[in-house]
Subunit: 238 residues, 2 copies
């Protein structure tokens, strides 16, 4: 298991001075549709910041993000006072605010449940680590993988997951399991202190039934959407 | 490389009689929001069909899908004439219509570009095959994987991808590559006959710039959304 760093907040944004931060963290309720676009702003602003670009107009930001300038101005008004007519947006401040709002730079722990292809890929990728998430355990139900090592973690039997989450302050359960097992697993996880579910199983879960926030990613569904969109375009090769 | 089956349409729905199909394939333009929910209906209806449940009320379907009954009735009216007061929906007809509309049961070919953790996981998973997609080639830029075998495919260098797609009637390019390479790859793919891009790279692409339909799946973004939602819930353990 990887060593979890000391308890102080580590700085994934690369912006050292905490004092500089959060001049305009919004206190207004931000609509869900806007929140969904924030990671996109975050990525673009990080790129700009890393390239030492410290101010940007809404027209330029629109070009980079692919969102229209009016849309963008509307979205970013929740992080108000950062855009100035004739100057544009202060990249560092906007980046810092959005990072803070999204909780980037905070530290989380997770368990991966399901050590199949996807579970292994997620365990081995740097994605979780880059977002401040430490994988504390990997679980599966199959004797074929239990006891094997996946990304420095010995795969444990799923029946141990409840106790493990209780004892290890696990924040996030990452579900990489078949659809028919996901509801049952959510029951197992409830009451263990797990605060969020990142669900890759092909079965939607929601906060109402799980009791904690859930984000579903269903690759199979998105593939069907692509197929639908493709079928509207006339195949020019025919 | 796996053998691509004969040219006739194969039946992934398990419903043999083509003549029975498509009694109510919609000719109205269906809103995007409704289309996005269709895979969910598809999965639930498939489950019902496989369990030999041939009719279902909107209340029951609402329970299974997690969507409200009015929402569901509104969505399914595009597949009109299938719901009957006091009878409910004809599962087989509805399932068949939605399957057809989504293009399920059609046959596609794909290349996986990027043979890292995710590219390998997708190549090895049954997800693509289950949706009728045959992987015809896997590509990467790294000498570490070129020449190796991933899911029965010998990994080729990315510089061969353009010629390969032209010569092999490739429908879908699956991008599992870093963000900074994805735009360049879309340029390479354009004009090769590729009809859709399934983009797992952490950089949104859109149909306007790519020239063919694109569906983006950004795992990192969805993780940030989860973190944001978690930060709104007070950590009860503190």
């Amino acid at each position: 298991m990887k060593k979890v760093p000391e308890q102080q907040e580590f700085d994934i944004t690369g912006i050292p001075a905490i004092a500089d931060r959060a001049t305009a963290v919004p206190d207004e309720q931000i609509p869900d549709a806007v929140i969904k676009r924030l990671p996109r702003y975050f990525r673009c602003l990080r790129e700009l910041y890393n390239r030492d670009i410290m101010k940007i107009s809404s027209a330029e930001l629109s070009e980079i993000t692919g969102l229209s300038a009016p849309q963008l101005r509307q979205d970013l008004k929740y992080f108000g006072g950062l855009g100035q007519r004739g100057y544009g947006y202060n990249v560092k401040k906007l980046y810092t605010c959005i990072s803070e709002y999204l909780g980037v730079g905070k530290k989380y722990t997770a368990v991966i449940i399901g050590a199949g292809n996807l579970g292994k890929a997620l365990s081995n990728s740097r994605l979780l680590e880059q977002r401040g998430v430490w994988i504390k355990g990997v679980f599966d139900i199959s004797d074929k993988v239990i006891g094997k090592t996946v990304a420095d973690n010995t795969v444990r039997h799923v029946k141990e997951v409840k106790e493990f989450c209780k004892n290890n302050r696990v924040d996030i359960a990452v579900l990489c399991i078949p659809a028919n097992e996901s509801t049952e697993l959510c029951d197992i996880i409830s009451g263990t202190g797990v605060r969020g579910v990142w669900n890759f199983s092909p079965c939607e879960l929601d906060e109402k039934s799980v009791g904690v926030p859930v984000v579903n990613i269903c690759a199979a569904d998105s593939l069907m959407i692509l197929m639908r969109e493709m079928s509207e375009i006339k195949d020019k090769r025919q």
